[in-house]
């Protein structure tokens, strides 16, 4: 089945220690998204790629970076995680803008 895969499902890191979260897709979609979701809140868009074009949300902290080496993979890098970065991180894909977004299972990040 075509799907969005996120690894790992749970990630523990230390305060200030860089961490990378991974997302892959078999849907061959043009757009890949990263969302941050804190407890009891709706997901918040961090950035998205249309193909290789990167689009950052205005309020996304510089601490968050992303890479998309090819169509299938997209990475979220948190350069110096703080306690406030503990959250669920969701990857999603879509064919294009305004199209249905398909979400992965998420990676729950814990910062100690």
């Amino acid at each position: 089945d075509a799907m969005v895969i996120q690894n790992p499902r749970y990630q523990v890191t230390q305060f200030g220690k860089p961490v990378t979260l991974s997302c892959s897709q078999t849907l061959n979609h043009n757009v890949m998204y990263w969302y941050q979701q804190k407890s009891s809140q709706a997901p918040k868009l961090l950035f998205h790629y249309y193909d290789k074009d990167f689009n950052n949300e205005a309020d996304t902290p510089d601490n968050f970076q992303s890479r998309r080496p090819n169509t299938s993979f997209c990475f979220l890098d948190i350069r110096s995680p703080g306690l406030g970065d503990a959250a669920m991180y969701l990857c999603a894909t879509s064919k294009g803008g305004g199209e249905t977004q398909y979400f992965g299972p998420g990676t729950r990040l814990l910062v100690l």
């Binding site: 969005v4 996120q6 757009v31 998204y33 009891s40 809140q41 709706a42 997901p43 868009l45 998205h48 249309y50 689009n55 949300e57 669920m88 969701l90 999603a92 879509s94 294009g96 803008g97 305004g98 249905t100 977004q101 398909y102 979400f103 992965g104 299972p105 998420g106 729950r108």
Partner: protein, 114 residues
């Protein structure tokens, strides 16, 4: 700009009874509307989508939603709740082909009593 209001933060129903989750939206254009469900520690799963075709949209797991333009509503219903329906539900709107950012409602938590 568009926005989404989910009118109930928490809905509790008995198993086998109907479920109604209310959503109102505001948009300057003809929007696309979605309902997603999220079970604990899982990603979001698409329940159904409205894109200006039939106003009554049928989704997965027995859910359906009706788009009412005059009321700017997109309420989600299910005739008979199951224990597995206990989850968080998000009503979402997007404008069109150049809109990559989903506008989420605050979410409605559904609990199902045995």
């Amino acid at each position: 700009a568009q926005s989404v209001t989910q009118l109930d933060s928490h809905v509790s129903v008995s198993e086998g009874t109907p479920v109604l989750l209310r959503c109102n939206y505001s948009s300057s254009y003809s929007p696309s509307l979605f309902w997603y469900v999220q079970h604990p520690n899982k990603g979001l799963q698409l329940l159904l989508k409205y894109t200006s075709a039939a106003t009554l949209v049928k989704g997965i797991n027995g859910f359906e939603a009706e788009f009412k333009k005059s009321e700017t509503s997109f309420h989600l219903t299910k005739p008979s709740a199951h224990m597995s329906d206990a989850a968080e539900y998000f009503c979402v709107v997007t404008l069109g082909s150049n809109d990559y950012k989903l506008s989420f409602g605050a979410g409605t938590t559904v609990t199902v009593r045995a």
